[in-house]
C-alpha cells in the first residue's frame, strides 16, 4: 500500500512544484518591475526628510483632514464602482444577449477599449463642455426646453458630477471585463430553464446570478481600485474643491508647493493597505459564494 501511495504523492508534489515554476516568471516580473521600484515608497513612508527612521508620517495620517480625505476617496470610488458595475452589466447584457445586429458588439468592445482610458484633462474638458454652465447640453436644454439644470440644483463640480464623469471610464471597463463571463452564460441554459418552467426572474436568481456573482465582485474590486487611484480627472475637474486622497498625495510628491514626499509615501501606503483590505473582503465573499456553486 505504502509503496504505491508514495509515488502518487511524489508525483503530486512534483506537479505542484512545476506549477510554482510556471508562476515564477510572473513573480519575478512583479518583484523586479513593481515591488522593488516601489520599495522606495514603503521605506520612505517611515523616514523623515533627513532619512532617519520615524513613525511621524504614519501618525500624521490620523489628522482629520487626511481621514476625511480617505473617506471622500472611498465614497467616490465605491459610488462610481457600484454604478459602473450595474450600468456596465446592463449595457453588456443588452449587447451580448439582446439579439442586436452583429456589428453592435465589436463596435461596443472596441469603443469601450478606447473610452476606458479616456481620462484626465480631455475627459474633464469634455464634460465641462457638455454639462458645465456654458456646456452644450446645458445650453440646448435652456434654449429648447427652457430648463436650467443649474437652477434645478445640478452642479457638475460636485460629488454627483465627478461620479458621472468617472463613469465614462468605469462603465467601459466593466463592459470589457464582464463580457467573457456573459459569453459563458450559454443560451441553452436559458432555454432549458424555461422548458422546465422557470420564469425570467427565477432563471436570473437561481442560474445566472450565482454564476456571475464572483466575476462581478472581481469587477467591482477592479473598478473600485481604478477610481481610488484616479488623479488626473479629479485634478482637472474639481482640483481645488475636492480633497481626494490622490490630490493630497499629488501635492506632497509632485506639487511644487508643499513637497513633503515622506508624508506622500505614507499616504500611498495607506492607499495600498486599503486596497489590500478590500481585496481580502472580496476573496472572503467570493469563497463564500463559490461554496454553493460547485
Amino acid at each position: 500500500m505504502s509503496t504505491t501511495a508514495l509515488p502518487a504523492a511524489a508525483a503530486r508534489d512534483k506537479r505542484i512544484s512545476w506549477s510554482w515554476l510556471g508562476v515564477l516568471p510572473f513573480i519575478a516580473f512583479t518583484v523586479l518591475f513593481l515591488l522593488l521600484p516601489a520599495a522606495n515608497l514603503i521605506v520612505g513612508a517611515f523616514q523623515d526628510a533627513s532619512g532617519a527612521f520615524t513613525l511621524k508620517n504614519i501618525v500624521n495620517l490620523g489628522q482629520p483632514t487626511i481621514v476625511r480625505s480617505y473617506m471622500l476617496s472611498l465614497q467616490i470610488s465605491a459610488a462610481s464602482a457600484a454604478a459602473g458595475v450595474f450600468l456596465g452589466f446592463l449595457l453588456a447584457l443588452a449587447v451580448i444577449h439582446g439579439m442586436l445586429p452583429r456589428w453592435v458588439r465589436p463596435t461596443l468592445m472596441t469603443f469601450s477599449g478606447v473610452a476606458s482610458q479616456f481620462a484626465g484633462v480631455p475627459l474633464a474638458f469634455a464634460f465641462l463642455a457638455t454639462l458645465g454652465r456654458t456646456g452644450l447640453v446645458t445650453a440646448i436644454l435652456m434654449t429648447l426646453f427652457d430648463f436650467n439644470i443649474y437652477r434645478a440644483g445640478f452642479n457638475l463640480l460636485s460629488f454627483l458630477g465627478l461620479t458621472l464623469t468617472y463613469l465614462y471610464f468605469q462603465i467601459p471597463l466593466m463592459v470589457l471585463v464582464i463580457t467573457p463571463a456573459l459569453d459563458g452564460l450559454k443560451r441553452e441554459w436559458r432555454e432549458a430553464a424555461s422548458t422546465l418552467g422557470a420564469t425570467g426572474s427565477q432563471y436570473w436568481r437561481m442560474v445566472a446570478l450565482p454564476i456571475l456573482w464572483p466575476p462581478m465582485l472581481g469587477a467591482f474590486l477592479l473598478l473600485f481600485a481604478n477610481a481610488f487611484g484616479a488623479i488626473a480627472t479629479a485634478y482637472a475637474l474639481t482640483g481645488s474643491s475636492f480633497n481626494l486622497i490622490t490630490i493630497l498625495l499629488y501635492a506632497q510628491i509632485r506639487g511644487d508647493a508643499l513637497h513633503d514626499p515622506n508624508l506622500g509615501y505614507a499616504l500611498a501606503l495607506g492607499m495600498i493597505l486599503i486596497t489590500g483590505v478590500s481585496n481580502g473582503a472580496y476573496i472572503w465573499l467570493a469563497s463564500r459564494s463559490a461554496r454553493w456553486i460547485r
Binding site: S241, A251, I253, G255, D256
Partner: protein, 367 residues
C-alpha cells in the same frame, strides 16, 4: 615721476587685458568642451513658457549642441526627483539643468543635488535672488495678474476687490489647485496682500478669507483655469502669472479676445531659479547654457516670452531693451509696486494656504 606713472598705467592695462583675455579664453574653452559633450538635457521647459521654444532654438543654432528635452509637464518637485533618481545614470534621462521655484533652490542645495557655477554676468544679478556660493540663481520673474475673456466679461476688473462684485458670478478661477500648485498659492497670497493692505505676514490668512468670500458669493469656479477653459467659457477670469496670461492671450489670437490686467494692489512677484545638477552628465554644456541664458541675448529671449528677466533693471539701465519689446508688456508702472516675498515669507504663506484651504474655503460645499 611721469615714467613711473606711465609704467603703472601700462602694467595695470596689461593686467586688465590679460584678465579679460583669460575670460575670453575660458569662454572659448567652455564652448569647445560643451561642443565635445554634444548634448544638453533639460527638463520642465514648455515651449510656451517664457518663450523657451525660441530660447532653446537660439541656443541650438548658436552652438550647434543638441538639446534633449524631458517632460515639459514636470513641476519643480519632479525636477528635483529626476535628479535624485538619475544619480548613477549618464543616459539621456538625467537632467543637466533645472528651472525651479525659489524655495526649491536652497532645499536642493541642502540635499547636495546641485553644483555651483557663477556666470560671467554674475554681478548684475540682484543679491536677494541668488545663492552667495553660486549654487542657484534667479532667472526670471512675473507678477500675478488677471486674464479676462472679453467676450464673456463686460467690465474688466481692475483690482482684487472688484472680483467680489455680483457681475462676476461663476467666473473667477485659479490656475491650479492651492494644495499643489505654486501658481495657485501665490494667487491666494496676492489677494490676501491686497486685503491686508500690504501686511505680508497676514497675507496668507486674508487670502483664504477672500477666497472663502468669493466662493460663498458664487463667484469662484474650482476648476483649474487654462486657455482652453477660458475660451470655452467655464473660467472667464483666470488668476495666473502675467507671462502665462500674456502668452495664452497671444495663442488665442483674438478668439476670444482677452485682456491681461495687473491688479492695482496686491502685486506679487514670483521668482524662479536656475541650477546645474551635481550629477549632470554634460556639465560643460550645462555651464554654456547658463552663460547663454544670462547673456543679453538669453535674457531678452525670456522677455519676448513676457517673463521679466532677472537682469531687467541692468538691461534697462544700459538701454539694451528694444522699445517694441517694452511696448508689448503691461505698463512698467504696474511692476513698480511689485513685492518680492522672501523665502521665509513664502514658506509661511504656503503653510497657511495649502494646509487650511480645505477647511476655510472648503468648496466641498457642492455635494
Amino acid at each position: 615721476m611721469k615714467t613711473n606713472g606711465m609704467r603703472l598705467t601700462v602694467s595695470v592695462l596689461a593686467l586688465v587685458a590679460s584678465g579679460s583675455m583669460a575670460l575670453a579664453d575660458s569662454m572659448d574653452d567652455l564652448v569647445a568642451a560643451a561642443k565635445k559633450e554634444g548634448q544638453l538635457t533639460t527638463i520642465a521647459l514648455p515651449h510656451d513658457w517664457c518663450g523657451y521654444g525660441d530660447v532653446i532654438a537660439g541656443f541650438k543654432a548658436k552652438y550647434g549642441i543638441e538639446v534633449n528635452e524631458l517632460n515639459p509637464d514636470a513641476g519643480s518637485a519632479d525636477e528635483i526627483e529626476a535628479i535624485k533618481a538619475n544619480k548613477g545614470n549618464t543616459g539621456p534621462q538625467a537632467p543637466d539643468v533645472i528651472d525651479v521655484g525659489l524655495s526649491f533652490g536652497p532645499s536642493a542645495k541642502a540635499e547636495g543635488l546641485l553644483q555651483p557655477y557663477k556666470v560671467s554676468t554674475w554681478d548684475t544679478i540682484p543679491d536677494s535672488a541668488k545663492d552667495a556660493e553660486g549654487y542657484w540663481y534667479g532667472d526670471y520673474y512675473g507678477v500675478m495678474s488677471f486674464m479676462v475673456n472679453k467676450d464673456l466679461v463686460k467690465t474688466v476688473p481692475s483690482d482684487w476687490a472688484d472680483l467680489l462684485s455680483d457681475e462676476y458670478a461663476n467666473s473667477v478661477a485659479l490656475a491650479g489647485a492651492p494644495q499643489t500648485a505654486n501658481q495657485a498659492i501665490q494667487g491666494v497670497f496676492a489677494a490676501g496682500l491686497s486685503a491686508a493692505k500690504g501686511d505680508v505676514a497676514k497675507a496668507g490668512e486674508e487670502g483664504l478669507k477672500f477666497f472663502a468670500e468669493l466662493n460663498k458669493k458664487g463667484n469662484f469656479v474650482p476648476v483649474t483655469g487654462k486657455s482652453a477653459s477660458l475660451a470655452q467659457g467655464t473660467t472667464p477670469i483666470i488668476i495666473a502669472w502675467d507671462y502665462n496670461a500674456l502668452s495664452w492671450r497671444d495663442v488665442l489670437a483674438g478668439n476670444p479676445p482677452a485682456e491681461v490686467v495687473i491688479p492695482k494692489t496686491g502685486v506679487v512677484a514670483g521668482v524662479y531659479v536656475q541650477a546645474i545638477s551635481a550629477y549632470a552628465p554634460h556639465p560643460n554644456a550645462a555651464k554654456l547654457w547658463m552663460e547663454y541664458l544670462y547673456s543679453d541675448e538669453g535674457q531678452l529671449g525670456w522677455l519676448k516670452g513676457y517673463c521679466h528677466p532677472i537682469r531687467f533693471n541692468d538691461l534697462a539701465k544700459n538701454g539694451k531693451i528694444p522699445q517694441e519689446l517694452l511696448d508689448k508688456l503691461p505698463p512698467a508702472a504696474a511692476y513698480e509696486k511689485a513685492i518680492f516675498p522672501t523665502l521665509e515669507q513664502q514658506a509661511a504663506a504656503k503653510e497657511v494656504i495649502a494646509k487650511q484651504w480645505n477647511d476655510v474655503v472648503g468648496a466641498e460645499v457642492a455635494k
